[in-house]
Symmetry: C2
Subunit: 410 residues, 2 copies
Amino acid sequence: MSKKNLIVGQSGGPTAVINSSLYGVVSEGFAHPEEIDHVYGMVNGIEGFLNGTVLDFQEALPGEKLESLKHTPGAYLGSCRYKLPESLEDPVYPELFRRFEELNIGWFFYIGGNDSMDTVSKLSRYAAQTGSPIRVIGEPKTIDNDLVHTDHTPGFGSAARYVASTVREITLDANVYEKKSVTIIEIMGRHAGWLTAAGALARKYQGDNPLFIYLPETDFDQEIFLTNVEKALDKNCNIIVCVSEGIHDASGTFICEYDSSVGTDTFGHKMLAGCGKYLENLVRSRLGVKARSVELNVSQRCSASLISATDQQEAVAAGKFGVQAALSGETGKMVSFVRETTPDGSYKMSCGLEDVNLICNEEKTVPQEWITADGSDVTEDFIAYARPLIQGSISVPTGEDGLPAFVYRK
Amino acid sequence: MSKKNLIVGQSGGPTAVINSSLYGVVSEGFAHPEEIDHVYGMVNGIEGFLNGTVLDFQEALPGEKLESLKHTPGAYLGSCRYKLPESLEDPVYPELFRRFEELNIGWFFYIGGNDSMDTVSKLSRYAAQTGSPIRVIGEPKTIDNDLVHTDHTPGFGSAARYVASTVREITLDANVYEKKSVTIIEIMGRHAGWLTAAGALARKYQGDNPLFIYLPETDFDQEIFLTNVEKALDKNCNIIVCVSEGIHDASGTFICEYDSSVGTDTFGHKMLAGCGKYLENLVRSRLGVKARSVELNVSQRCSASLISATDQQEAVAAGKFGVQAALSGETGKMVSFVRETTPDGSYKMSCGLEDVNLICNEEKTVPQEWITADGSDVTEDFIAYARPLIQGSISVPTGEDGLPAFVYRK
């Protein structure tokens, strides 16, 4: 068998460990020199590839440099948000495969979430339809943890660890004053509340902050929320509330939309504040208590210092497993995580493969049985599920400038 | 000489190393058993002390536990914002000193910023006036770095390291897409721009992001800002801008106030967004480019994972130095940092003492010569000043729950 080349791309929003998955794919690619010749990276995903931007990892990250990917957040290869046409008759497909042939590609890997798995699905179906020997494998990635047919996704554990640690630190910060206060923490998640639920991991004992956790999986009632907070203020001095950015009421209206109709800047343009800012104002004006809000924002997906070692190791393992699967003939699959039942109840994860067509464009939300009946908290089942995923810290090397030393594309 | 007791309090907003200063005071207190009997902590500052809340460190944090203070953010003792009356004739002063005598206090330490130094000033003047032998020493603390008569303040280095690291990570995050974008990062600092200036430390080479840095020390012109950003978009894909929360225009109006007159929630209450959110909307609406804003918020002062080892060590040293100074008879002083001129140009800091009356209620801003003429950046002199303060990382122990293990008051 003559040697072929491997190509890998990254797509969608970055995470703290999307480059660990990349490291897994590339290092495993290097480990099979009898089958794989070059390991290429497409810059800015399939969109950049169509513009002809490709790099060779042997030149870009030789030797030890490759290791630095494991602690570098952001997408080393750059990303894109590009949806391939639904019709496989579209001329973009033969164009893509012509370029694959030019580069002698035998294996194609795409690291991303729902939308990226849609690309994997289409490319693998087109290959099957045209008899192309190219094998196409999806590598899961998303802080949202919303991919189906996998226990969880790489990126979630580190984001959850960031959220839990930061909620704990903000609690410490809030507790310094004796004056009653309410802090609203707004956490990423438009439709799935996994990451907001991770705020519960910050608790050190029952009844500890955050006292309330609101996910987009349930309807949010502003009056019940105010009553809950008011009652809690009787017994607690400083209250922390975690909310998903995507919380909405029973009518389906996002809570963040409640201020958008009236807020305009001096040029008459709408100012959109998040639901955290809205609830801060609501609590202050209705309950007359000191209130503030914190939007955790992009650090949730790009903070290196709170990477979960478990998440990082699993991202690398998923990358490697995907390459091994492709070499053994698999295609049209996404690497999944399967949680094993161990006799002593300890956490053990292994990699599996799932039909990518069953994954793309689907969304996994937090199950209702892991949310308390009143919708203001998550259950112990969620804690038991998520706790193992945030275990272990990594050491990020520091450069001469005193800051984390990351690796950058030239 | 009969033994006396030491008491220490924390006041004002917390920092990542305010507990390192506390560790310095308490451990040095323990190191002088021939002179110091008990080491007490006042809970919630002078306000809590008036309510009678005092703890004994030998009981609260025995043995090794004391060490945990060094990586615990927030104020272990709790804090307050309480201004003592201007008139030393006020009955609160004899009341305070009666309590000091009851507790056999010989040494009083207060860790805080401008306002806390005002407390130190008043208590030391009252002691002098009444012939009380109690020695009163101020320990500097503020992320704002705005205390006069000291090279810098404990707390600034860690906050600056958090800002610089996070700006670098947000830049990585912004760079993943090829679509032009502008990210506004809003950084703490109402009147002094030291912390915002620290965004410049994130640059890896000349011309790297953040491209613009705006401090409250200069007037901000919205039209010039838009022109600058528009020009920069010709040559750069993703632009990062750092702004102090306190930027204002030539009329003295805070930029964040430009939306406040029109933004109201559904109950008719004013919604105050920050200047970052305002500028995000301004850039999007006026330049038609993708824009987002990130408010770094309280993590600037409570993130443990990016504590600067230099800052931590100096906070401990300042704490210890203050106790030694008090034991040698000093009072009415604040511990200061003096930067030494070394033959090889390396960084060396020593502790000094300054008259607290010259420090309280004063504010040190970034000197105009460290800001570029057009007010859109800081100079190399600032970089040279700040770079040594963010050096070194610390290792925060992880608990069984996978999160940073802090120490808490019972």
